[in-house]
Symmetry: C3
C-alpha cells in the first residue's frame, strides 16, 4: 500500500522538477511503459481519447524533452504548478489511483502572472524499482482551446 505521506512527497518532488525546469528528470517519474495524456475535459468526459498531447513510453517522453530543449530553452517565461485536493481513489494491486486538481500559472518576465491550465489529473501511481512512478497520468483541462502552455509538461 502506498501511504498518503509517500504520495505527498512524490507529487512535491515531481512538481519541483518541472517548476525548476529540470526537464531531463521528467521521464524518470514514469514507468517504461506508461500513459501521459493531456486532454480537453469535453473529450475526456465523453470517453473520447483525442488528446492535445500523448506519450505511451518513457522514450516518447524523452523525445518530447529533446524537442522542448530545442525550441523553448530561451523562452522568457516560467511555469509553476499548484496541486490541490490530492486523494487516493482506490488501492489496486498495481498501485494507487489518485485524483487531484492542477493549476499551472505562467509568468512572463515583465507581465502579470496568469493561469494557463486549470484541470484535474487522474493518475495511476505504482512502486517501480524501489521508488514511486506514474504508470498513468491523464490531465483533463477545463477548456476546448489548446493553451500554448501545453507544450510543457504538467
Amino acid at each position: 500500500m502506498i501511504s498518503r505521506d509517500e504520495l505527498a512527497e512524490f507529487y512535491a518532488l515531481y512538481t519541483e522538477a518541472l517548476d525548476d525546469v529540470r526537464l531531463e528528470e521528467w521521464p524518470d517519474f514514469f514507468t517504461e511503459d506508461c500513459l501521459f495524456r493531456i486532454i480537453p475535459r469535453g473529450n475526456f468526459e465523453r470517453g473520447r481519447t483525442l488528446s492535445t498531447m500523448q506519450a505511451e513510453s518513457r522514450g516518447m517522453l524523452q523525445d518530447r524533452v529533446t524537442g522542448l530543449r530545442r525550441t523553448q530553452v530561451y523562452a522568457p517565461r516560467y511555469y509553476r504548478r499548484f496541486l490541490s485536493n490530492i486523494r487516493i481513489v482506490t488501492h489496486e494491486d498495481a498501485g494507487a489511483r489518485v485524483r487531484q486538481n492542477v493549476l499551472v500559472v505562467q509568468t512572463l518576465i515583465d507581465k502579470q502572472s496568469e493561469i494557463v491550465l486549470c484541470g484535474v489529473a487522474h493518475d495511476l501511481v505504482v512502486r517501480n524499482e524501489e521508488r514511486l512512478r506514474f504508470r498513468e497520468r491523464v490531465i483533463a483541462f477545463d477548456s476546448e482551446m489548446i493553451p500554448n502552455s501545453l507544450v510543457y509538461p504538467a
Copy 2:
C-alpha cells in the same frame, strides 16, 4: 475526534462533486439542519449577516440545485475549486471547527481561466449518520462585488 486525514478525504470528495457538476450530491454533504452562507468579507468581519447566498437546511440546498439545473445547465463554463491551508481550529463536542482558503477558477470554453472567488471558509464538520457532514459552511469572500460565480456552490 475527527482526524486530519478524514477531513482531507471529506474536503476532496466535496470538491470533486462540485467540480464534476454532480450538484444533486451537494445537499447530502450537509446535515438536515445546517447553515450554508456566502458573505462578503467586509460584512463578515463587521459581524453582519447580510449574505450573498444563504441556506439553513438541506431542503433549501436542494431547492437551490433545482434552480441551478433550470437556469444553468447549458452554461458553457466550468468551475474548479482549490482548497488550501486546511486547519482544525478547535475540536468541540459537536465536531471540528475547520478553516481553509478557497479559490474558485472559472473557465469559459474559449477564454482564459480566471479567478472568480477568493476567500476563506469557516466550517463546522460533524459526524452524522456514519459519515462526515457540514453543519456549517460560511465562506467570506474578498470583495464587495457579487461575482456571478456565486450562483454556484463552493
Copy 3:
C-alpha cells in the same frame, strides 16, 4: 524532529495571520536573528542576493510592520495566500529545511481577483521557545518586475 503535521499547522497559522491582516503578529513567527528575503527568481538562481525586500532580525520586521501601518492601513484591497506542495527537504540539527510554492491573490474591492505573486519559498523552520519559528524564509518569485504586492509580507 519536526513532523509533517506540526509544519502544516505552523504554515496555516502563519498564512491566517497575514490573510487577516494581523500584521503585528508577523514578526513573532520569526526568530530574533533571522532572514526574510523576497528576491526575483533570476537573481536567486544565479546566486545573487540583490533582493526586493530583506530583513535580518525580528526588529527589522517590526519596523516593516510600522511602515506598512502608516502607509497602507486604508488601502482598499485584500491579499490571500495559497501554499502548495509543502515538502521537508532535509532535517538538520537546527531544524527543517522546507520548500513550498506560494501564490498570493489580490482582490481590490470592486475588481476581479488577480495573482500578484507566484513563487517558491525556501525556509528553515526551527523550534524556538517551545514553538516553531522561521529562522529563514526566502521567497523567489517568478518575475523580474517588482510587484507592488511585495510591500506586503508573504
